[in-house]
Every structure is written in structure tokens, then in C-alpha cells.
Symmetry: C2
Subunit: 246 residues, 2 copies
DNA sequence: CGTATCCTTGATTCGCTTCAACATTAGTGG
DNA sequence: CCACTAATGTTGAAGCGAATCAAGGATACG
């Protein structure tokens, strides 16, 4: 399942400097001259087939990954066979940061569709971060953002009702699609109801009911995995009384 | 509420190199020679009275903080007046990492008792991390650990029952007290039932009931905030079927 | 000593889960 | 290409666990 990218005559494909995602990814805020050094860092790409793992819990940690195409879920498998989904990841997201702490990955990263990632050697990343100030800071920002969004998730799981959770989930997706240049109001879910439920701390039936309820209320239109947001204002109001977004 | 530490004749008190917490804190894995440079970084300490904020949501982010004595909670205040506690922090813990991502703190840090923190200028920390490899790596590990433990919290909130949540909470506290040289089986809670409930996604009555239930079962002994763990084995079993700890 | 805060416990209510049946879609092989 | 099967999604009815409502008790504090 592993494949390096085609190389140019000079030896290495220019990865980051030609990537149209870089505003969402690590290179943000890095000067042109330093960008070439990033290209060196991100020399390898890897293709992952749908349902296949990018890494598994317990795997030795050697690299972080930037999603180039496709999408992933992170999950933790429970002993009784159930899973807890801890995150969904789309293009530009950085995966694998959990592994730094122990040197082992602490969750599974599974492709939700055929996907491609940039492999970023962690050792080299640390080296380069010591030289390129902007990279260091951007890397810290990426980790910090993950902490902030995990905190938001804790709030959702700790204090929101089923409908509010799904509203927050849809708005979060919408916002992330927007940041990537896609429609804020119309998109395809890459995950099942069960995976959404696991992520939101709900059962799949409850997720399905909440979808139906939203549709009945004219908030969204649902056709299986195809979602259209009809009234984002009211969706926002559902969760506004809950949280002052941080 | 701000106070610098008494300075020695040479100008700066040696902070990290004489701190008995350093194994839990940033200096871990740093050579003696570099330690002196850390002392420079951590030149300022600050005292926070019980119930007072170390920082508030929206405050500009300038420093991270290491808890030297006392303890804190992190919380997010909801518009309707309720709060969601997102973490409890004890000696050696690093606070404020959430601020890196936006340049503003995204939650409140409130002292649970009269406390003292080391103020670590973030700018200087980044500078020093570019020079001291061990510090860079340790800092990354601290952030990564926070991500991992937040994921654990998401799992708790997403898939555990009230009793299981409290068991996990008590075992986590026990483990953290142990790491700090205190008794694993006997300790004082610094937070109220309501704060525990907010943290665990439960109401205070439910927390109280769970405590009573555990006592009736002979798992622990409770007298207000004084806890004694009597059967940690059975407490562990309560949550083992849930999660393969990562 | 009196008051506010925190904690405990009981009775009732409500929201989500569970169980179950069925519908729809996707995937597979003849 | 169609028939068949597995996977996924929807909906209803019943059960259960935590929230809510309510009252009283313990403890800390001025």
C-alpha cells in the first residue's frame, strides 16, 4: 500500500511549494526560500485505500502526516469490540501528533476513502523547526489548535443534547469545507451514522433521528450521506446558548 | 496579585535547577549546563489566591505557566452562566498551551487554592527551544500528552456511565498524586462536587450518588473531600472493559 | 452563633438507548 | 446486467439511567 511519488529529474518532487493546500497546513507563514527546505522534509507520500489504517494504536511513532487528498477518522478500539471515534480529518489536517508523547501512536487512523498523505519525518521536522522560526511556530499552533478543538469537543460531550451535538457537528463540517474552498451548504458525509454517533457520544439511531428531525424542521435536507444546510442561522442558534465559542 | 520572587545577590534566583518538581515539568531531560539557561527563562513567579484567575478566556497569550504549588481548574463559561470544567491541574503541570493557536487564551484558569506558578515567556521559550534540543522535544511531549489525555477524556465522556466516569476520575487522581510522591490511596479533593460533575459531564447530585454508592460497595471511603481508596483493583475493573488504555 | 456554601438523599421526569422490524443502498458474482 | 446478499439507514415502542425537583443535613466562615 506504500508508494513514493514520481520524482523529477533533479531527484525530488517539489511538494509543499507547489501544494495548493499550504495555507491550511504546516508551511503557512514560511518564506519562499525556506519552502524549498520543506520540500525536502516532505519527500515521501503514501496512498491509503479506503478502510485501511495509516497507523494503528501501538505503532512506533516516526512521522506525522498531512492529508493531501481524501479523509480519515481517528479512533480507539475498546476491548469489547466497540470503537470511540475521536476525530475526523480532511485535506490539510495534520495527523499523528498524539504519538510524540510516548513514542507510540495512541489511536488508529483509518482512511474513510482512498486517500493520500504527505509523510513528515518527525526527527527532520524537529531539526527544521530549530532553524526555521516560522515552521516552529506554525507547528506549535497546529498542536495548540488540536488542544483547543479537543476542549470544544469535551464541552460538546459534557454539556450538549443530541440535537445540539449534531448541529455543532454539521456547522463544524460546513466551516471546514468552506476553509477548503467547498460549498458551506452542500456536502457529502464520508462517514457512517455509526461513526458520527461514536464521535458525538450517541447511538446511530439517535443520530438518524436527529437528522430526520432537522429535515422535518426545514433546517437541512438529507439524502443518505448528502447534506444540504438550509438554515444555518437556526442551527447556530441551537448551540449559541450553549457556548461562547473560544 | 503579582509578585516576583526574591532575587539573589547575583540577580536571579535559580528556579528550575533547584526545583524538586523538574521531573514532571519542562526541564525533564535537559543537561545541567542548559538548566542554567532555563533559570533565566523562568525568572518570574506569580501567586494566585484561591478562586482567582491566572488568566481568563480572551486574555492575550504571552506565557505558559508551570504550577509550582497549589492547583487549578480550567473552565469555559457558558452564556447562560453555567460552566464546563475542561481540566484540573496540579504541581508540575503546564497551563496555557491553548493560547498559542490564536494568540488569545481560550479558557479560564482558576486557582482551587492559594497557588504559585512559574511564568514562562512563550517568546523566550520558543527561542530557547531552538537552541536546546531536549527542551524542544520535552515541550512537544507536553503538548502531545495534553492531546492524548484530552482524547481519553473524550472517550470517557462519549462512552462511559456515571459510575465508570467517577472511577476513572479517582484512578487518574490517584495516579497523578503518586507521580508527585503522595499517597495513591488517600487524598483531599480540591474541587467541589459540582466542579467534578462539570468535568465528568454529570450533575453534582449524580456525582454525590456515585460517591455514596462506591462507599456502600466498600470501594472507597468518603468524608466530604477526603477520599480513601480501599479497592483500586475493583475500581480498575470497572473501567477496564471500557478502554484499552493508550 | 448565625448564615452561606456544599453535600446527601428521595421522588419524579425526561431523553437517550435498546430492541425490533423494515427500507434502502452498495457491493458481488453469476 | 440483473439477482442476491451484506451493509447501512430509518422508524416505532419500551426500558433505563441520569437529570430535575425538592428537602434536609453537614461544614466552613464571618
Amino acid at each position: 500500500m506504500m508508494a513514493t511519488v514520481a520524482v523529477t529529474p533533479t531527484g525530488l518532487k517539489k511538494v509543499c511549494s507547489q501544494c495548493n493546500l499550504f495555507e491550511l497546513c504546516l508551511p503557512l507563514g514560511i518564506g519562499d526560500s525556506d519552502m524549498l527546505r520543506l520540500d525536502e522534509l516532505v519527500a515521501v507520500q503514501r496512498r491509503i485505500k479506503r478502510q485501511q489504517p495509516l497507523y494503528r494504536s501501538g505503532d512506533p511513532f516516526e512521522a506525522v502526516y498531512a492529508v493531501r487528498t481524501g479523509s480519515f477518522k481517528s479512533d480507539i478500539l475498546l476491548e469489547d469490540g466497540r470503537e470511540q471515534v475521536t476525530g475526523f480529518h480532511m485535506t490539510g489536517d495534520i495527523l499523528g501528533l498524539d504519538g510524540i508523547s510516548t513514542g507510540l501512536h495512541s489511536c488508529n487512523a483509518i482512511a474513510l476513502e482512498d486517500s493520500e498523505v504527505c509523510v513528515i519525518s518527525y526527527t527532520k521536522l524537529e531539526e527544521l523547526a530549530r532553524v526555521i522560526e516560522g515552521l516552529q511556530h506554525q507547528f506549535h499552533k497546529v498542536m495548540s489548535s488540536e488542544i483547543v478543538s479537543d476542549r470544544g469537543m469535551m464541552m460538546l460531550l459534557g454539556s450538549m443534547h443530541a440535537n445540539e451535538r449534531l448541529a455543532a457537528f454539521l456547522l463544524d463540517l460546513s466551516q471546514r469545507f468552506t476553509a477548503r474552498g467547498f460549498s458551506p451548504t452542500e456536502f457529502h458525509l464520508r462517514m457512517t451514522r455509526e461513526e458520527i454517533g461514536s464521535y458525538l457520544g450517541l447511538k446511530l439511531e439517535t443520530v438518524s433521528r436527529a437528522f430526520s428531525h432537522f429535515q422535518k424542521e426545514g433546517l437541512i435536507s438529507v439524502q443518505q450521506k448528502h447534506i444540504r444546510i438550509l438554515d444555518s442561522g437556526r442551527l447556530k442558534k441551537m448551540i449559541q446558548h450553549q457556548a461562547s465559542v473560544c
